[in-house]
Symmetry: D3
């Protein structure tokens, strides 16, 4: 089983970190292939960057068609390009926000999201609406921690996330914390121990969900809007990855 | 890994069938323990029967506390007693409707539910609302096939479900079918081949979800409403399974 | 006119208290028949207990079929077993949460619920969603007062509820208080005087609603999901109350 | 007990008919006082007419302040001026659409509205949204029968309403019919017999709800937006009914 | 191009102020015709007053039919009588709340409403729901400033509104302020400068929207519920403005 | 006044057509600058193509920063890259779907969308949800007409759109048609005449909305998530348009 993990930003080190997190939870026979787009910003902290990331995910999903991944994970909490990838790939494609919300809804009747920059809260809130978790997600909390500062996470940053989580649990009357950034994956274990509630890292859940669906031979529906895109003329930079 | 599968009705043969479906998809090291309540109706096709099934699931979950299941699956599409089980158990507890909706939302942007008696449609519709899938679930379709007639499913019954599915896909503009009854699990493969879209059996997905969460050591939150119930006086029949 | 009042828990004294509250508001010709299940927990403060209470209400509703109540009231704020009772009975069946929300919506454009244990808030919130009062209900407030401590309500407990109500009115910008527990019925009058806003006890409203619908000869629809359950095999303890 | 019934249109004969319907269901000691505005259209079949009716209800509610009605019923299915009346009166004020939706939700898990002119459907649909019955109300059906033609209802008109109801029950998978016009009150009994499902006339329910709330001494909250309007300058025609 | 601006209250000076605000933003060729009803309250701060204002707007819209306004603006934040005016007029009719919400949704992903009396908040909240801005409008804030005190706005009143806006921006995590009263139009510029975020006055936006739609020859649909009202008997004061 | 119109696909001829439609409605002093991305697909008919278009809009918005457009229009019905453009630009940025929904909501109480490929319906439906028009938009109808075939629209294609519109008006009980593709702009006038209801072309409305907001000096809020993106490293093709 080969699972494609697309990191939508272009940071090599963050891609490596996500790959490590994915491999740490993958089953023995699962091969993790971690990639990032050939272009775009080094972190995704707003709508402009997300627009580039969507195209970047589309690029990488299209390039992976040749080797037919068993399942694909989009490893950025805004789930950029998720549906573009579903069109070009045949296996299941899972966003880490989507997977995290699903797991959190099983483990607690209410959860809170703790994320990085406050300006990205709206992106998480839109996903909550779009996926239908408005009753289960009881709050989205920004910390104004930059995504890239998570790579070499200081004691202070960890404590800031812990503190934000504690406040969220009380204020939102929640029972679980969803980590709102793929870069937080390495913090999941320690936060879980300190907070004594489920702390959900979307990368881990998405990898396991991908293994689960692939083992059931369940693939993306090609009836309807996830059908393979029509072949048409692409121009400029996109020409080489036209359908 | 030991996964408890609770069939909320009291049919021995249906419990066996569900156990077979669960074992067919379980990973090599996973042990499936299938049980049913010691009391209640032989099938669940309405609110009255579901009330009994909720208590029956509570009973079985409470009895299983002693051996601490790695994960628990509630194998009736109304997810009866799901939250009662979450209170008494520490591992993740997964309803088959919940799991099916989650998987379907990954595989298609819209899905339809095809179920048994028309009078149970409202139960599925309420779950759709409660879990937040009102945009993804584009229709719930009753066939008036009795649950127990699925056990020895005739060619005609299968064709009736296939036909209802075809109509649903077109009318609802859906891309996937969710089977609205645990008793339909054995039909999943053949329907999937005939319809050429993902056909989702909640039992299979819930078992894999359970393995996934258990392997991640993710447990039910004990902060909030899934905390262990308080010890108190139970009377009559329920006395022997008091908390 | 004979109105059945089912107390879903098994406390004799609480059943008596609810019967007194019901009789205090019943019209001269109305006969109140108050019962509780033959099994189950002595108070309902969580999902596990509610599962038992649902079956307990089903049992009592089924037993009452023989004398055809003019109307039936389910006297626990989670409205457990409400729809089960609607299936087996022909007269109107009214939940006290449902009735309280309806009355509150007539008397104020926004109301707050003040209830007992915090862990039960989610049960009230789910009913708010399910019945459609998300715009009118502006907050659900737990006090962590145990249900059974209301039976012999101390001055301190009363003041705690009064204080929680005052805070709710201001914080939620509400105009009325809904008491979130049948056990609070005796406090309705004094709280109403102290707070100078409508304080709604669901037991009282449900009894009057029941009289109203019964006098109009309006009965539960038997077209659709409230039709009489099908006859089928019940096993174990439930055998004796099979349909 | 004196219940004010305000017919928001200016038809004397329709006011008489509504008064008869109200008296037919009122308890022995209840006095029905039926009035209509001193100005405005003879029937309400659109937004323009409803704007006049709102002011007309405000006028009549304000005039009735002097004798303090025990409860007040607004007898037009759009519930025009409902909240204006709540501001000036101290007793409960009940709209017939609101009351009908509440009763229907108790008697069936889904209901359909059958009303007069198709152009008024939007008014009923807005009330469904505003009151929170979007899940229970499964359809609103116009018949293009003019309101005033109901006063002397022909056999054909009755059959047209019956037919529209039968279609609605099947198409909407509903269990009850709500009559979408006060002028349909006299048809309630015969339709109920023919259709064999609950047929709900809002006038009847609202009168009984009014008796119920009045007997419980439950009044409109004066905390918040239903507080008595501030005294201020009114000009023109409205001067004589200024607050 | 002639744009009708209906001030729904009967204050001459406020009508003049609104006319000035409208003319200040109108294009060179646009003629502003500002009117108020011949009857009703001098300000709209509750449901009772709004009922009169609805009829007042209906009156003025009907009187304006003769000269066929290019577009019509309803200049009170509750948008009273909006749909009545749409029925009798052929050009576009725009409510200032509706226009303000639309503009705010373009300029910021979340906005807050700052309005006058707290008791009117519910009116704004209902419009937010009715128009569909529940995700964009992140809060409605009353200041208990009377509408008429805005006409000769003191330094203190302005500062109070500024302060309420600052609090709203932070508490609601909003990016723009919508002024919840036509009487606040003259404060828009100074507040915008002080707050350094978009401050939206519905009168200005509605006038420009009206010019825009009129220049595109886009008129109110006469198919459906905005069709011209049927001719019928009107009595009393309303007789002279019957359809 | 200079208005930037970004056609998110890369078709020169379609860009020209959109520019003509924009100029046809622009005020005398308005300068229309129409551009398309330097890369990407020639038409947008699915998620994959839309991902590229989002980045393409981001590119063009960023390039336009230098000349500070008075307002910007995103001329593809999926509003791709809308919020990315709002981050990098200071003037108002308007999506044609958003503008069309706003105008339609003023002109009719319900509207229907008629669009091109059926697989794009989900994109329009998501925008309806995201912008809050679920009550006003009563249906989204695909015709399976390819976008590019609109450029040289045959009599048959026009008739197909007309027919789909007629069916939508009846089936959805709508009063207006929203054209679900920028390529349909040239058909607006003839369809409007034939259908005798408002037919709304988002390009026209968005241009007028842009002129309106620009003339009011209303700009995108830079408080919150539309703040200018942070400067950071971009790699590959995107490097040259880094922030």
């Amino acid at each position: 089983m080969k699972i494609l993990v697309i990191n939508p930003n272009t940071s090599d080190s963050m891609t490596d970190g996500i790959a490590r997190a994915a491999r740490a939870v993958a089953a023995p026979g699962t091969n993790i292939v971690a990639v990032h787009p050939s272009f775009g910003p080094e972190s995704i902290e707003g709508h402009y960057e997300e627009a580039w990331a969507s195209a970047g995910v589309a690029e990488q999903a299209n390039l992976a068609k040749s080797w037919v991944p068993s399942a694909t994970v989009i490893a950025c909490f805004g789930d950029p390009g998720l549906e573009a990838a579903r069109e070009v790939l045949s296996g299941p494609v899972i966003g880490i926000a989507e997977a995290a919300f699903q797991a959190a809804s099983i483990l607690a009747s209410g959860f809170s999201v703790v994320t990085t920059m406050k300006r990205t809260c709206i992106i998480a809130e839109r996903l909550v609406q779009r996926y239908g978790y408005e009753h289960q997600c009881r709050g989205v909390h920004g910390t104004d921690i930059p995504v890239l500062s998570l790579e070499d996470c200081s004691k202070e940053t960890l404590e800031q996330i812990e503190e934000a989580s504690r406040i969220a649990l009380v204020k939102d009357r929640s029972g679980a914390i969803v980590l709102g950034c793929a870069g937080m994956a390495p913090l999941c274990k320690v936060l879980s121990e300190r907070l004594a509630v489920p702390v959900i890292d979307g990368v881990s859940v998405a990898v396991k969900w991908g293994e689960a669906l692939a083992s059931l031979n369940m693939n993306t529906s090609k009836l309807g809007d996830y059908a393979v895109p029509q072949s048409k003329r692409y121009s400029g930079f996109a020409e080489k990855i036209a359908i």
